[in-house]
């Protein structure tokens, strides 16, 4: 039976597949065979993790989207998916190393600090908006996390050609972020009576959204500000971390309507 106590087996298999894929991806002058092998290994890891998520859904009798530990699962899944898509589309050989390291860190956190305290879905989360809101948010977080990795590499290597990939990934990520935020507003109206309540979590979502919009507008109108674009992208990601879990560590969340996340 798939459950948290055998999660480590899935972690080992996923880490092995993704680790091997990352090493093969680093090989210079890859043949088609190597290129395909990287894709198949990465996809195998994704299938293994998806199997765990499906199994956990059956076990919990609800989608695993409630605790931070469960959300991390989706983050890892989407991050590895975004990693392989970026690898196929732009042929960045190093992207899989970063997505794998981040995935292993997040999965290890789940093993070392599992948040399994609540298996039941509370009434506030029983809504048709719940799954699209969370899934789309986490997918956008993964994309924006990927753009952060690319920005770091670009800034470190002083190479501005990566900004094109950043633009595409950020545009997709921010579109999804906006959709998730608007879905959240519709849900909030149904649950609390207001589309926006200036809640701590909402304020940081607004700050993150504005910062990414600033990046998009900077790239649209001041195309040659390369270093500034990379630095802004790094700060955007920091704001995203604040929105995602940073606010949980501050007293303002005690009064927050999002206190259960």
């Amino acid at each position: 039976m798939i459950a948290w106590n055998n999660f480590y087996v899935f972690v080992i298999v996923c880490s092995f597949c993704w680790g091997l894929a990352s090493i093969f991806a680093l090989v210079k002058n890859q043949s088609t065979l190597f290129f395909r092998l990287v894709i198949y290994l990465q996809l195998l890891g994704i299938i293994v993790l998806s199997t765990f998520i499906i199994g956990l859904t059956y076990r919990l009798l609800r989608p695993p989207l409630q605790t931070m530990g469960e959300i991390r699962l989706w983050y890892v899944l989407f991050l590895s998916l975004v990693g392989i898509i970026t690898y196929i589309r732009w042929h960045y050989r190093w992207i899989l190393i970063f997505s794998t390291i981040m995935s292993i860190v997040f999965m290890s956190l789940n093993i070392l600090k599992p948040e399994l305290h609540n298996q039941n879905l509370m009434p506030a989360l029983q809504s048709v908006w719940f799954i699209p809101h969370v899934i789309i948010y986490i997918f956008s977080y993964s994309l924006l996390g990927c753009s952060f990795i690319i920005a770091l590499v670009g800034l470190f290597k002083r190479n501005f050609k990566y900004l094109n990939a950043c633009d595409n990934i950020v545009n997709t990520g921010v579109s999804l972020f906006t959709i998730a935020m608007l879905i959240g507003a519709l849900w909030a109206k149904d649950a609390w009576g207001h589309y926006w309540t200036w809640d701590a979590k909402e304020i940081w979502a607004g700050i993150t959204w504005l910062m990414y919009l600033l990046y998009i507008h900077l790239r649209l109108h001041r195309y040659n500000r390369h270093t500034l674009s990379y630095i802004l992208l790094i700060f955007c990601f920091l704001a995203l971390q604040m929105c995602w879990y940073g606010v949980n560590f501050f007293p303002s969340l005690r009064e927050s309507l999002h206190a259960y996340v």
Partner: protein, 297 residues
């Protein structure tokens, strides 16, 4: 040697900009405005209909004027302005978050914007200024650019509708709470500042249904309410995420226990205009998602 041929490093440029007389005056006026507006507290209901509609029309008028007179008011649609406005709003939002519900500043010399940001003059001014800039950008795009406009207009008009209807609609919105029980019908509710409001219908409680998980945690709570309008009585179910709508009022279940329930009633006549804005923005964002990033330079 001609002074224009002297090499000027970036640091010197920054220092020159800072000590520039014009910059000092602009900064001084800005700071004065921010401090003054922080001390002004605005009652949102002071803008209630028809004042809000008049202000909205005035805002549209000035946006059109500003957007069309592009040569004279280029400041309003430049990317520099968009950047500055965004940074300004970001700073304000962070300040708001830092002092969120920190009522230790209440009734002191500290400006109201620190603890009740959304009713401060600073907030109202910033919001109106942002709407003016956004409106001018939209008008400029419609009248001058005239190409590749559809997605841009969907996203920006949607955002403008959401922000303006949300802002001006707040003046007509009332959020009230009341306790209903089995014994009698009630048609009064109270706002957060304890103002008594009369509802056009009466509410009573018929019963509460609770369902539990095997672990003992609560699964669902449903309050069966009786809504009485004149002589007509209707039984309705209200639960979390599932409010009851009647005569423009939304009835939400807040708490339920014993034979009483805490009910929240929201009267928001602008709700569908905000919803329209959200739908327009959603369509634009979905379109943008499929189109991908297109650099305009």
């Amino acid at each position: 040697m001609n002074k224009y041929f002297l090499p000027i490093c970036k640091g010197e440029k920054v220092i020159k900009f800072i000590i520039n007389k014009k910059s000092i005056i602009t900064f001084g006026i800005g700071l004065f405005l921010v401090i003054t507006l922080s001390f002004i507290s605005i009652n949102p209901n002071a803008f209630a209909f028809p004042v809000n509609v008049f202000l909205l029309m005035l805002l549209v008028f000035f946006s059109v004027v500003t957007g069309q007179l592009v040569e004279r008011f280029s400041f309003f649609y430049s990317s520099k302005t968009a950047g500055l406005v965004s940074i300004y709003i970001l700073v304000l939002m962070i300040v708001h978050w830092l002092f969120y519900h920190q009522t230790i500043f209440s009734d002191t010399v500290f400006p109201s914007s620190l603890y009740n940001f959304s009713t401060s003059g600073l907030f109202v001014f910033s919001w109106m200024f942002f709407l003016l800039v956004l409106g001018a950008v939209i008008v400029h795009r419609i009248t001058t650019v005239k190409k590749n406009n559809s997605l841009f207009l969907f996203i920006h008009i949607g955002l403008w509708v959401v922000l303006s209807a949300g802002f001006f609609g707040k003046a007509d919105e009332y959020t009230m709470q009341t306790i209903v029980n089995n014994d009698y019908m009630i048609n009064q509710a109270y706002t957060s500042d304890n103002q008594e409001m009369n509802l056009p219908f009466s509410l009573g409680l018929h019963g509460i249904q609770k369902e539990y998980y095997a672990s003992g945690e609560i699964k669902t709570i449903v309050a069966d309410l009786i809504v009485k309008d004149k002589q007509k009585e209707t039984k309705v179910h209200v639960s979390v995420n599932s409010p009851y709508r009647y005569k423009g009022y939304d009835v939400y279940l807040m708490e339920a226990g014993g034979n009483t329930s805490k009910i929240q009633i929201v009267y928001d006549p602008w709700r569908y205009i905000v919803l329209l804005g959200i739908v327009i923005m959603l369509l634009g964002t979905i379109g943008n998602f499929f189109r991908g990033f297109k650099n305009q330079t």
